[in-house]
């Protein structure tokens, strides 16, 4: 009677396993390959930055901005440091989509609470250089009214908080990067599938050789 169980060469399995274990240990310094999108408000503009999982910026990627009803608001491309900026729109809730020629895509949603309180769209002249420009030109000898004071404070805070919100977005994205548990979980699933397939195959063979 021929034996349906051809013995696997234990040596060959061990050798292949040791070779592949090198590749398993390798990803301790591994970096993900997925596109992320960071958005923050700075100087009356919405800034969008595309990054890969290893923090490399995505240059010349197409950015499209939609409203919640999927109507196209505007589009553009990221610059050399992966940033695309547009002025704050009347529509605060936006869906920002980034797509690269190589087939990567990232999407994020902006909500009304992501905007600073005094960043009214199109209401203020963009003054990226200094928040004190209105001060020196118009109000040097006059008393402040409350609204102008609030605008000045919000501009200063925005400059400081833009860095903070950028860091928070990076942290949010970091949580989504693959962890070691994901890696070993995936390998476990693969080996489990392999075992299940082999089990059902050899169960069939067993039934054929021993019907009792």
């Amino acid at each position: 009677m021929t034996n349906v169980y051809t013995a696997l060469s234990v040596k060959s399995v061990c050798r292949t396993l040791s070779l592949c274990l090198i590749l398993v240990i390798f990803p301790l310094s591994a970096l993900a390959h997925r596109a992320f999108l960071l958005t923050w408000i700075e100087n009356g503009h919405v800034k969008v930055q595309g990054k890969y999982g290893n923090q490399a910026v995505i240059k010349n990627a197409k950015v499209t901005v939609f409203d919640p009803e999927q109507n196209l608001m505007l589009s553009g491309t990221t610059n050399e440091i992966g940033i695309f900026a547009f002025p704050i729109l009347q529509q605060k809730e936006l869906i920002v989509v980034l797509s690269t020629p190589a087939g990567h895509k990232a999407e994020t949603r902006m909500l009304a609470e992501d905007y600073p309180q005094h960043s009214a769209p199109q209401d203020r002249s963009p003054s990226p250089k200094s928040p004190q420009a209105p001060l020196s030109t118009q109000h040097s000898n006059e008393s402040w009214n409350q609204e102008q004071l609030q605008l000045l404070i919000s501009q200063s805070l925005e400059a400081e908080l833009s860095v903070l919100s950028h860091q928070v977005k990076k942290l949010e994205n970091k949580i989504e990067e693959p962890s070691l548990q994901d890696i070993f979980g995936g390998i476990g699933y693969l080996l489990g599938l392999m075992g299940v397939g082999a089990y059902f195959h050899y169960r069939q063979k067993l039934k054929e050789i021993s019907p009792s």
Partner: protein, 219 residues
Amino acid sequence: MHIAEGIVSVPILISGVALATVGTAIGLKKLDYNNVAQVGILAAAFFVAGLVHIPIGPSNAHFVLNGIVGILLGWVAFPALLVGILLQAIFFQFGGLTTLGINTVNLAIPALLVHYLYIFSPTSFFKSKALIPFFCGFLAIGLSALGVSLSLALTADHFVEIAFLIFVSHLPMMCIEGFVTASCIAFLLKIEPSLLPKRKSLPIFKTNPFGINLYKKKI
């Protein structure tokens, strides 16, 4: 290398699913369950290799290892890569579930082609045994990049620009993967040659039409 969801058009997705289904069915039929451990380990190696990024040049490319998988498995590369890509999509969000078929096709067909290239390559024409595996690894990534650009171009219109951009961005990775494939195959040739497929000679070379015997054994 993995196409994300919502990029390619529906006909491309459906074609990918159809081709991947056919390839996987053939692969499962040809699967020898005595070697299922090898298939599982190679699929695990592919799964993990997608996380290893090489920051060389303008690209942000990562290891694929479909050259090694293709040389060792042949048609069985289809189910192995399908499972690897599925788990990468679930655990790491590389690609997507709707693009599973097209991603499998873009990786598995080049793997299959380099398998036959390895089998039918002349055995003693080149002094170095690592040259053909290097070329196989190099070509596997190049053909996969071509497949990705073709999939994107059939959705958009500017094929040549996309193809050139993707090809150039993957050129460093093609070279690196060629070296990795060559070193792995050379290692296996030394310690366990039975893992590698048996090489065959093409019928045209048996008749020796040009007076060059490419399959003569070295003394």
